[in-house]
Amino acid sequence: MKIKLSIILLFSFYIFSGQEMVKGKVYIPLNDGNYQGVGGVNIFWKSTSIGVVSDDDGSYSIPISTETKELVFKILGYKEDIVEIIDSLNYDHFLTEQSDELDEVILLKRKNTIQKSYFKTMNIVSVSSDELLKAACCNVSESFETNPSIDVSFSNAITGVKEVKMLGLESPYLLITEENIPMVRGASQVFGLSFIPGSWVESMQVTKGVGSVVNGFESISGQVNIELNKPISDVPTYINIFRNSMGRNELNFHFNRMVNEKLSTGLFIHADHRKEKHDSNNDGFLDIPHVEGYNIFNRWQLTDLEKGVVSFFGIKFMKNEKEGGERFDTNSLSNKLWLSEIKTERFDATFKLGYVNPNIPYQSLGFQMAYSDHDQNSFFGIRNYDITHRSLYSNIIYNSIIGNTMNKIKTGINLTYDDYEELIDLDKNKTERIDRSIGGFFEYSYDNTTNFSLTAGLRYDSHNNLGSFFTPRLHLRFQPKEKTVMRFSLGSGRKSSNIYAENQEIFSTGRKIKVINSNGKFYGLNPEKALNYGLSFRQGFNLNSNDGDVTFDYYVTDFQNQIVVDWETEGELSFYNLNGKSYARSFQLEIDYQLTRKIKMKTAYKNYQVNKQYNSGLKQNPLTPKNRFFINLDYSSDPNDKGAFWKFDFTLNNVGKQRLPEHGGLSNFLGFSPSYTLFNSQVTKVFSEKFEIYLGGENLGNYTQKNPILDSENPFGTSFDGTLIYSPIVGSMIYAGIRLKL
């Protein structure tokens, strides 16, 4: 078990440290209705040997168990209670007197589906699969609606895909990894997250600010790591069916089996289909594109604990087709219709091998290799965009210690090879670019095991188009009190500028596309480069015997170079190198509080200052709200003896005004979109561990943007623009689904 754990940690980029303890008091009821602390209560993790006895005043302290979350409270004369504890460091328990019936009473302390640790050096928020289930639907890009660390843009009518943002910056500035292999990048930058079915995801780790040096130099504003279900830990058979009122149908099927003691395999299948025609704003264009697609994933897991080896091998294939535009039969046959189509096929193969020296448990070696072939063929009106991106990624990580286990090191090499072939816009010639890099990294972590830890990393990369350079990164954590933690991070990042792949929405306009060349390596432009630093402060509290915490985050990204995407002139779109300042400053205040035993509240206020120097002056980034407010309430009833219970979830999002680029079709807004509020809600009835149904609504307030396609009467004119989207295009949407775990 120990070895397996270490190997899993090897693939993770964060470091577990310190021993988390659950502390609290046990009380018994008195005749006058008050409670009194009581000693001698046996408190232990169910089916383990880890147990403590409460002190005379009722207080106890027990280290968190890795094996179970069920804590048992037991003393003669009182009911034996079992409580589920997840990420709570404080728990007070109230015993009830034993009545005649000797039934076990199960109480549940609500678990946190978003976990923030006091002990990790980096500012990492872990998101469990339960949290993902709160979101309306279906793929990873749509699953951040209840997570205040990540913002989701509104999908336009052509692609129907939501893009994620963090610290005010778009997804190309994030490093998105799948089990620590960079995955959503290059050709898949825009649509990649939407190609990962939500049900495949086991958990996600969201790092704010620069991440570790281990995974490369690309992360600038943050890192999102997606862990997929493992054949060993996922349910043997899982079926999920979903349908919404816009005619979207989805099907998920998982099948996991042990082949023998060491080898297990999983088959994951996803299909989605949407062919209904919706045009609520009567502009003749589909509000959401037609979609048809499927994903297949087969993975193998080999675990040999005696030899200290864990290995994964997986292959994935996906196909997706989207059709948008004027898909209605109109009488005026003389008019040429504006149509769009995006066809994507992708193949992935990954291999991972982890080895922990059984004799020297602090030494381990990890090897990862991934190949992908991403092929997109698309047209938008008369514009084309085809891209083929073949990518090879490999790394070796070696973990060890210096002196003792308080000083850990990670070192290794990464290799990347990316071959891009593009057919851009009206150009009939293929553009080809090859990116090759080799880099080495060294990361040192120190943990004094009580209140201070640091991670300092440095990497050196040699890249054919970016040159040779160092990337330093530093993370500090100081925990002066048990529930007070401060974190600081600083580091640089850079990336190739795949301007067309990252900004595919530009083709859904009639704008004249211009690249104002200097003589850089990327379409004439230079690579992007930025420094990111930030501070985070978290304070836990206990109010009315319920836990809560307050988090302040302040992060700054300063660009030394950025590719400015200039939408400021109607009928034109230009790309050019930054000449002047560009920065993103983000402030977030988040309060999480357990209102009652059954109701949890998450609330956040965010302020973004994202400004950059355009040729026409220093301006706020368009379509980026300066202020956002978020509240999420979550209720769970107590399960009955069959394990049946209800879950209710409610989310409110207030989106502040956003600067709009100048465009005749938006002139009545005086340069800023109105501020508005959106409501989402979901009800889940869990019948048993094996079966649940859910029903939910998105955009219940029915707020929509009236003119999502500007100059839609004239789709081949230069003023045509389907991308200036500041709010949802479609109104209220209802969905329902079932989940079957066998």
Binding site: M21, N42, D55, I360, S400, G403, I413
Partner: protein
């Protein structure tokens, strides 16, 4: 490029040889304790002793497994130092005043393992 590879290869071989050298010794001996809090005290306390690289104490067997650098410290003084922070270790007994200042749940002379 080639140079870089070489540097890293050198580094790998260096770090592997460093740890597989003769100076690193493994040992396993009894240390008294009764609970998970003891485990935390013993693991962290032992690894903080200069020369100790790794420590893992098992509650059920009371066995402490360590890896240490024999050029820097010997087994005897490790055991002496563990006893000095409150846990009977090998032939050494914890001083009474240290034992009495242990957290209540760690009183291994009177408590049963829990």
């Amino acid at each position: 490029m080639k140079k870089l590879c070489l540097i890293f290869l050198l580094f790998f071989s260096f770090s592997f040889s460093q740890n597989s050298g003769d100076k690193n010794k493994k040992a396993s001996f009894l240390v008294k304790g009764v609970c998970e809090m003891c485990k935390n005290r013993i693991d962290v306390g032992t690894v903080r002793i200069k020369g100790v690289k790794y420590a893992n104490w098992d509650l059920t067997s009371n066995n402490l497994s360590i890896i240490f650098n024999s050029n820097k410290i010997d087994l005897d003084s490790i055991q002496k130092q563990i006893a000095a922070f409150g846990h009977d270790s090998g032939i050494y007994k914890a001083p009474d005043e240290v034992y009495n200042s242990l957290p209540e749940c760690c009183f291994y002379k009177t408590n049963t393992p829990h």
